[in-house]
């Protein structure tokens, strides 16, 4: 649908910013100074940098909430620098930190905003609203008629994402969408959003000041310095293994190896096994399983195969006569298979038996992650990243 240059293997450029500049009235310096950036279709590009670097201004110039002083914005091959801004914005999803949900409209009406602007009929709009609410894990029948005030912050932001997807835009702009949400909910929303993105494959420009979030969410990261000048624009792996300069190195901060753990998911590594028994089994069976293993506890699974209890030898002795799902402790360190290794490590550190239990989407037990596997993952990542950096250097693709 677009006329991109004839470089076949390169993915299509969805957004091209050419020499984009913004100077606010009454200021001496350009907030954004001659930024040129290509954003490929279907990728999440994270603009990250210290506050005041111009990342939000840059993003807001793409849908012209802020009009550029000079330069061009090319969207899907079409120069949209001076086209009708209202029409342009209906084609671009927009999610902001404080959700900006319309408080006097129901959730359903909020999500229907763009479909209505685009003139969809009532039936199509309604089915789209239900589809979108389901996509962000909110039961349409339960939430359609509620008002934003009746929702938690995390739910509001889900609705914000659903609303932005209303007109099925190819491009989404997200301004610190998970910034005002508590860490646990943020983690979940990030994971949910990545799953959603793997289905919808939008081109996303994502602004954050949090390098960890950038590493987790970004297919590519643009680290911006003052005036929105690009310090490095690359994949998270490359930024972590081969920072382009001291600014990038400082910005990443310590623990680059640890941060790299945010790049791989639990499902990508081989899980360790752990002795399990069913909740319906007897204490004697649990005893036998425990004796035959070299571990200090067995994991009790309920009838659905979900982790229910940790039971150690001491628990078995004291709980004589009770059923297995009434003794021991409830497993706290549990992650889904799409969690990052970093999430798993976090859980593992505080866990009682130094392992994190991994479950699938329905909460069924898949295996465990222990420190050995995390170590192994770090080693293999370092090897492959270094090898890749070397080949690229040899190809002359990156400047020395």
């Amino acid at each position: 649908m677009t006329q991109t240059p004839q470089t076949a293997p390169e993915p299509e450029v969805m957004i091209r910013l050419e020499n984009l500049t913004k100077r606010f009235p009454g200021t001496q310096r350009n907030a954004v100074d001659g930024l040129t950036l290509d954003i490929h279709a279907g990728e999440i590009v994270v603009l990250v940098g210290p506050s005041g670097c111009g990342k939000t201004t840059t993003m807001k110039m793409i849908n012209r909430i802020i009009e550029p002083t000079s330069g061009r914005i090319i969207l899907g091959g079409e120069d949209v620098t001076t086209t009708n801004a209202d029409q342009l914005r209906r084609r671009i999803g927009y999610v902001i930190q404080q959700t900006g949900l319309f408080p006097h409209l129901t959730i359903g009406e909020n999500v229907a905003t763009v479909p209505k602007l685009l003139g969809w009929d009532a039936a199509r709009t309604r089915s789209r609203v239900d589809e979108l609410l389901s996509m962000v894990n909110m039961d349409p029948d339960e939430y359609r008629g509620r008002y934003p005030k009746q929702l938690s912050g995390g739910q509001q932001q889900r609705v914000g994402v659903a609303r932005a997807l209303g007109g099925d835009p190819q491009v989404m702009l997200m301004d610190e969408p998970f910034g005002a949400i508590d860490p646990i909910t943020r983690e979940r929303l990030q994971n949910e959003f990545l799953r959603l993105q793997s289905e919808v494959r939008k081109t996303i420009v994502f602004v954050t000041h949090d390098i960890d979030e950038a590493i987790k969410m970004g297919d590519r990261i643009a680290i911006l310095q003052e005036g929105s000048s690009i310090a490095q624009y690359d994949t998270p792996e490359k930024i972590l293994t081969a920072p382009a300069n001291d600014f990038v190195r400082d910005f990443i901060g310590g623990g680059a190896s640890l941060k790299r753990l945010s790049l791989s998911r639990v499902r990508d590594i081989e899980l360790a096994s752990w002795p399990t028994v069913s909740a319906a089994d007897s204490l004697e069976q649990a005893h036998r399983v425990l004796r035959e293993s070299d571990h200090s506890a067995v994991l009790v699974l309920d009838t659905e195969g979900r982790p229910a209890r940790w039971v150690g030898a001491e628990d078995l002795r004291r709980g004589a006569g009770q059923s297995l799902d009434r003794i021991g402790t409830v497993p706290q360190a549990v992650v889904e298979s799409r969690a990052t290794l970093s999430d798993a490590l976090n859980e593992l550190i505080a866990a009682r038996y130094a392992v994190t239990v991994v479950v699938d989407q329905d909460g069924r037990h898949l295996g465990v992650v222990d420190i050995e596997q995390i170590n192994e993952a770090i080693r293999s990542m370092r090897h492959s990243a270094v090898a890749e950096a070397r080949t690229e250097f040899a190809d002359g693709r990156t400047a020395p």
Binding site: I65, D86, R89, Y94, G100, H104, G160
Partner: protein, 269 residues
Amino acid sequence: MSTVTPVGVRDADVVTQTPPAAGRRGWVGYLTMPLILAVVLISLYLYVNGRELDSIEARSLNAAALSTAVGEHVALTAVSTVITLLIAVPLGILLTRPFTRRVRPFIITLLTLGQAVPTISVLVLLAVMFLFLGFQAAIVGLVLYAIIPVLLNTMVGLEQVDENVLEAGRGMGLSRFQVLRRLELPLAVPVILAGVRTALVINVGTATLATYINGGGLGDVIMAGLSTNRVLVQVVGAVLTSVLALLIDYLAGLAENLLQPKGLRSTRS
């Protein structure tokens, strides 16, 4: 420039502090005020009925004369309030648009000065200088006085709308006009309505002055009582005015509750 807006905001804050309208208190609460007013009116009727009226009193205190006065009074209040709204709300919208930023302080200062002049002086000036008398002249005086609270509340109502909501609206492709009509105005409704209620209460009280320029209303009854030295007539006029004012305030409070956007109500379901 920026010195004027806070003044406006402060004024309007005072304006908004009408007592909390018939809130969440069930139908018993809603009926209290009408019942009290009915009891007052019935007592007044029984009292007046039980008295021997002289001919002067009888001329003022009869069904025809009183209902004419009440009718005129309601008309004065209603017409002046509607005209006030027609002027003040659009003006408030205009004065909150970015392109009027420069003229905003001047216009507000001017109107605030206008409000400082008592209505009675306005009425007298109209009558003496322009020989402008009667119902229409009274309306002019009332409107001039009531514009400011409605205007300031409209402006404050529009300005207190969450900036994020407007940005989200713009970001989704609502035009400036759509943002105004679908987001700003509905979200400003509670504050604007508080201003309207204030204007109504001001107007229903000030309308008693219309009698000085032959504008009719319950002021006629009070004046008749004063000029003929008939206390009973004065009392009837004053009580009727007060009952009418309280009734209108009560109805405006009901309207405030009913017209408030559902999602903004403080109840949780």
